[in-house]
């Protein structure tokens, strides 16, 4: 295959090592606000990259991540809370057995979040992949709403609109970026296997994919369930990052944010999803000032909550018109490309000096 395989592997390991050194320094020296942004970046990389697997790589335009994240968040939160804490916060109606007595370590709760969400995704897949195109988008959007409504109304499991409070703040940069690394590893490897090629085939031409023996349904299910697994774990991390969850947290807004990321990054490109997840998360923080009251000389602009969403939506519209392929198109980062550029640069410098 690639003659530079070994070298690239070493470069990747070095880059990851360097990344973790930077994370160590960051969480040691940055302010807690900055560390929170860093956590959000890691988390959104996971969510965007796994969402991209079904929407970008397999080409099945669907709108369910808020449902997956919600399921993961609730699963994990219900497992880390102690029985005493649960008894205390379920004031309207008591929590059902066995949830009332179970408590697990954080990591187990995360795995459970991934598995429960994957099972949910798997079952949901049977229903939603009977349709495609716009219908798929609508049906999956519906599922997101259903999950939220159910969370609001199953008082004895989710504590309804009151939500779950005072979760232990287990999530830190190691968890968020560790999960991001695993997700990126899984997705980028998967995309390069024949399974991933089959997913792309389904995206480009489903009828032709069937003609070469590819079971389109099974590959959609694989992408969807994988996506659910990582979104679920991401939900668990999110819950223990903000330490309070309630149904209002998991509206379509969350999905819309992720959609912006994968479109800006370039549908189908993992590299693009990573870059855009960081840009949008960081940019969202940066743009906070537009929602505050602004005084320019004598002009006073009052605070406009939601202004950032307007800007992001505009950005999305402009992308659709002028740069449909996003930052990366369907291309991916590659060490060969980097090394080639470096060699080119060296050559340039030598010829000058």
């Amino acid at each position: 295959m690639d003659v530079h395989h070994r070298r690239n592997q070493i470069l990747s390991i070095l880059a990851i090592g360097l990344g973790f050194v930077l994370l160590y320094l960051a969480q040691k020296y940055l302010t807690s606000y900055q560390v929170r942004i860093l956590n959000n970046c890691g988390l959104f990389i996971t969510l965007a990259v796994s969402y991209n697997l079904i929407n970008g790589v397999t080409g099945q335009f669907s709108l369910e991540p808020n449902a997956f994240v919600a399921i993961g968040a609730y699963t994990s939160a219900l497992l880390t809370l102690s029985p005493a804490e649960k008894a205390m916060s379920f004031i309207i109606e008591p929590i059902i057995w066995p949830l009332s007595v179970i408590q697990t370590p954080f990591i187990i709760s995360l795995l459970a979040a991934g598995i429960v969400t994957a099972i949910f995704g798997f079952l949901m897949g049977f229903a939603v992949f009977r349709v495609r195109g716009d219908y798929l988008a609508i049906v999956t959007l519906g599922f997101g709403e259903v999950v939220r409504v159910v969370a609001n109304n199953t008082q004895t499991i989710t504590n309804g609109p009151l939500g779950l409070k005072a979760l232990a703040p287990y999530t830190n940069v190691w968890w968020t970026w560790g999960l991001a690394l695993i997700t990126v590893f899984y997705v980028s490897r998967l995309v390069r296997t024949s399974y991933g090629m089959a997913m792309k085939a389904v995206k480009y031409d489903e009828a032709a994919a069937e003609a070469v023996g590819i079971n389109a349904f099974r590959h959609k299910m694989l992408a969807f369930t994988s996506s659910a697994f990582f979104e679920g774990i991401g939900g668990g991390l999110l819950a223990h990052l903000i330490t309070t969850i309630s149904p209002t947290l998991f509206t379509f807004f969350l999905t819309f944010n992720l959609l912006i990321m994968i479109v800006v990054g370039g549908l189908g490109s993992t590299t693009g999803a990573i870059i855009a997840a960081i840009l949008v998360t960081w940019g969202g923080e940066f743009l906070r000032f537009v929602e505050e009251p602004i005084n320019i000389f004598f002009i006073h602009i009052p605070a406009v909550p939601g202004m950032r969403m307007v800007i992001f939506s505009l950005l999305l519209v402009l992308m659709m018109i002028f740069a449909r392929h996003g930052i990366m198109g369907t291309r991916e980062f590659s060490w060969n490309w980097v090394v080639d550029r470096m060699n080119g640069l060296k050559f340039l410098l030598r010829n000058r000096g």
């Binding site: 490897r189 090629m197 792309k200 069937e210 003609a211």
Partner: protein
């Protein structure tokens, strides 16, 4: 028992009878043609055989299985491969990827085995690569393996689609207008190619074509349909001199 048989196939779209009581049997190793004017129902026959449409009536048997009602990808796995009238390659993938993909349905590794690159998957990946390369060699596209498939000229895209179909390991190959859009030289090369792959892979070929020169050269037997109904069958010579066929093509004069 016949290698392949279609009995009393009928396909209705609402009130339109696209194919009416179509019958054919194929023997192993034959090259058989299906011709007829535009809109006669030829592609519809293929779509039924390949599992894209479920026949309104009739049965299709292929090496002892009744296959109508099965899904397209299952039929491909059983050994019937097809090409499309309007080329349908995976345009953004490379030439070799377009062929490698056709081996995927026989991959034994699970997706986790593939992601973790277990030895079984590595072996399978190597086999897919080598298999695809051999087939590209055979159809004369090996030197273009790394190109994007939509960068090829039209005639070569048609060959690539045949290569992709071959890689699924078929016993019966359905070619829907393989010579469409080809110049005379390319068409002549295609005649050689089809005969060669038939011999090398022990195929049976069932093809639709409008180019009469091509059909007459390559087919041992053919069937003519018009408005969904079979109007003639026989050897190329018999068809050429058949009154009804001439009328169907030229219109009632």
């Amino acid at each position: 028992m016949d290698f392949f048989a279609a009995k009393n196939l009928t396909m209705k779209f609402g009130g339109l009878v696209a194919v009416n009581d179509f019958n054919i049997t194929l023997k192993r190793g034959e090259i058989v043609g299906l011709i007829g004017p535009n809109g006669a129902g030829k592609t519809t026959v293929f779509n039924m055989v390949a599992g894209y449409y479920e026949p309104t009536e009739g049965t299709i048997t292929f090496s002892k299985n009744i296959i109508n009602g099965k899904k397209a990808n299952e039929i491909t796995k059983l050994g019937i491969a097809r090409t499309f009238q309007n080329i349908r390659l995976f345009t953004e993938l490379s030439v070799i990827e377009n062929v490698m993909i056709a081996y995927h349905c026989r991959v034994k590794s699970t997706f986790l085995g593939a992601v973790l690159r277990f030895p079984l998957y590595r072996r399978e990946e190597k086999m897919m690569h080598e298999g695809a390369m051999n087939i590209l060699e055979e159809v004369g596209l090996a030197s273009l393996a790394k190109e994007r498939s939509d960068s090829l000229p039209y005639g070569q895209q048609r060959r690539l689609e045949i290569a992709r179909a071959l890689a699924t390991g078929p016993e019966l190959l359905l070619l829907d207008e393989p010579a469409a859009g080809m110049n005379p030289q390319e068409t002549q090369d295609l005649v050689d190619l089809v005969i060669r792959i038939r011999d090398n892979h022990g195929l049976t070929v069932f093809l639709i074509e409008h180019d009469m020169k091509f059909v007459m050269q390559i087919c041992e037997r053919m069937k003519v349909i018009d408005y969904g109904t079979t109007i003639a069958e026989g050897t190329p010579e018999e068809i050429q001199n058949n009154e009804r066929v001439i009328k169907a093509y030229l219109g009632e004069a």
